[in-house]
Symmetry: C2
């Protein structure tokens, strides 16, 4: 029987590992909780109504359909039996000879998990449609409210976290308010929306060179975004965010609060550490050997956001797609070489540069000595994010929508859908639930007369 390779997680790392094992003398089983690979770097465009979920999500079965030695299992991994070389699922177990754990990361509220409901993060398709719903409902609620203070709170959007996702979200929110929704409302002017980007460090995009952070800040401020650096979020309530710095604390009344501040390794990292004795870092990531395997367990690899790999520069590699992709490809190569009886090489990360988008026509690029801001890196960003789409269909769909949105300065998917499907099927009032639960509205006729 061929070597059984089990891969946990259908993100960039897991999927590239599976694909690079095509034609190898192995049986690949890819396990994921979801039926699709999600192109995470464009998820913020779903959250801001520029793309539909299906544009950036591709069924794993379709992606691996032509690969004879791979199968997909929709399943939830709950633990590991490394003695018997088994992955434990909620409803069964799968045997492996080699295991690749690419379970990724989730949101990190730094011990304040009670903030989660008031400040959703952006990791899944559902997160994105929920954030889209909140943004659109906020404008609708503001339109119906006559108390100026409440209108102000509905039109205040606070984005917590000044990394690439926070910058993208703040830039997109500014575009939605100033361009997409410009007409169409009567009682409010969407352009009045206040968008606040809160960053605890002293500059946004802290992993980029300072001059690019400055360019991004300038661009955001031109869009009317308030960039507040050096302030910590100390509390998040349903209707306000509390931020603090050396001068004291301040409340920002806001009804839409988005969390992009931290990621936390999948809890499977902890389970794997318990089972193998592998060390974890403070973020819950598994500290891996130079070849990405675990100490004492050459048959287990950890890659992507869940892996802490610091052998190259002393610093752990960042949780970005290109790291996961390169690690997935590396592990596939290691497995092939081992089976061929050849020497295994350590992983070497080749940084191809980093791009962060601010808004239409503006991105920053850090490619070692070459540092760019403006239209050229923006075009590069578009190109790369099209080319790395996993299948040609997504590429076409994303391209068509981008072209359309670019020409019309619109957004294709400004859809409020239900939070709770069951409520919908029993014909309960819909998005209005959120609106009316505020008790904030005067009689509508007042605003109508």
């Amino acid at each position: 029987m061929n070597e059984r390779v089990v891969i946990i997680g259908g993100g960039f790392g897991g999927l590239y590992a599976a694909k690079r094992l095509k034609n190898a003398p192995v049986e690949v089983t890819l396990i994921d909780r979801r039926n699709h690979h999600l192109f995470q770097p464009l998820l913020y465009q779903v959250a801001t109504g520029a793309l539909s979920p299906a544009d950036i999500a591709t069924p794993l079965r379709r992606l691996l359909k032509r690969q004879r030695n791979a199968r997909v299992l929709l399943g939830e991994v709950v633990g590991f039996d490394v003695e018997n070389k088994q992955v434990i699922l909620t409803d069964g177990a799968v045997d492996y000879d080699t295991l690749i754990v690419a379970a990724g990361s989730g949101k990190n509220y730094f011990g304040n998990d009670q903030w989660r409901d008031n400040a959703p993060g952006l990791k899944t398709v559902e997160d994105a449609t929920e954030i889209r719903r909140r943004i659109l409902v906020a404008f609708e609620a503001a339109e119906r409210t006559s108390d100026p203070e409440k209108v102000r709170a509905w039109l205040t959007f606070v984005v917590i976290g000044g990394g690439p996702t926070g910058v993208e979200m703040a830039g997109s929110l500014a575009e939605i308010a100033r361009e997409t929704l410009r007409d169409g409302f009567h009682s409010i002017n969407p352009s009045d929306a206040r968008i606040v980007l809160v960053q605890s460090g002293d500059r946004i995009l802290p992993t980029y060179p300072p001059e690019l952070s400055a360019k991004a800040t300038e661009a955001l401020e031109r869009l009317g975004v308030e960039v507040r650096t050096g302030v910590k979020v100390t509390d998040v309530q349903e209707r306000r965010v509390t931020v603090s710095n050396a001068d004291g604390a301040q409340d920002i009344p806001a009804r839409t609060i988005l969390w992009t501040a931290g990621v936390q390794a999948s809890p499977l990292g902890k389970r794997l550490a318990d089972a193998t004795g592998a060390p974890l870092d403070r973020g819950g990531r598994v500290i891996v050997e130079p070849d990405l395997s675990l100490p004492g367990h050459p048959e287990i690899f950890v890659i992507g956001d869940l892996a802490h790999f610091a052998h190259q520069t002393g610093e752990p590699l960042p949780g970005v797609a290109q790291v996961a992709i390169q690690q997935g490809c590396h592990v596939a190569r290691v497995i092939r070489r081992r089976l061929a009886g050849r020497r295994v090489t350590p992983f070497h990360y080749r940084d191809l540069g980093n791009l962060a988008i601010v808004n239409r026509g503006m991105a920053v690029a850090d490619m070692g000595r070459v540092r760019l801001a403006g239209r050229l890196p923006w075009q590069l960003w578009l190109f790369i994010h099209l080319m790395y789409q996993m299948d040609i269909e997504n590429r076409v769909l994303v391209f068509v929508q981008w072209l359309w949105n670019y020409v019309t300065r619109g957004r294709s998917a400004l859809l409020i859908t239900e939070r709770d499907q069951l409520a919908a099927s029993s014909q309960a009032p819909t998005s209005l639930k959120l609106v009316t639960s505020t008790g904030a509205f005067l009689r509508v006729k007042d605003t109508n007369s």
Copy 2:
């Protein structure tokens, strides 16, 4: 002050009425619970993964953005105060001089509302994504099950109702099983799926001429659909449907059951009848005067699925888009003529013909003496469903996806998304919930070895 026209419902009827009042000396307020107009005739394509929700849903504000005399109110109507000419919302009231009620219809389980959870119907975007989820989860669950009887139940799809929606759904399910998912599974062959279309009457498409019903039946049977006419559904459970005819009752074990059998007028019809004394028919529709107004209330109109209009042929007009569109246009014309002091004409429905699609390349058309089945009516169907898209963007998106799907014989949006968003944000197991709640699985390693 200009005459205040309040329209309840942003479906075909309400939207066409609003648009045809452009430049009239009125103030239009369009009230809807949802922020978007939904192109209902293509909703089954979302349920079967061919289109994304945003492809067929357009924000009402965008559609009315260039119409100065119209505003959109996201609101839930709960009643009417016809004395004071007010529409009562959950959180306020809106004054009208003229009222157009176009609140549409929901699903009718004929007194068996307990069937709703086991046999969802297709009315909203959420219904469509929930049905899509169930269809895709069924194949995944079958792939993981080893008990042949349980595999059979997961691979059995029962569509209740042989009208156009039931026929579309059955045809699409057959295409999904025989073409779209053909490769990609290992333990099962999706082509083995059993698709049963249950119709209580003696033929499917009962509103079409018998020869077209026969053509549609033939086409479905060629696709491997079991068309069962003259059988009534007497019970729907989570894992089976009971059907009965003169020969007795029979259980069909099935895990995916879809309801397309009946529509019921919006409950607002009853509230309006209580408030005005207008008569209702058995389906809860409001029986309207020849000009679509209510008896004794020339300032209130009811149009679309909620209206019972039988002045033309003695039979009420069917609940289809072209009736709603023509009625919306008519009411706008009546309002304009009244304001101009001109005579009001009765509504006259002009039947432009009916088209029902079966599958790729096959539709039936009933246009009076001209009756067609096959490729030509299918092309006509595609053309009409593109041309009636409310804005050019949806037209482009739908066109591109259709072209793509046609060329690749694939489907763009085979996405399993969460039923419950809150579960997702707390990182609970996802679609698996449904799968694992069956307790049906053996250890996965059994099927792996």
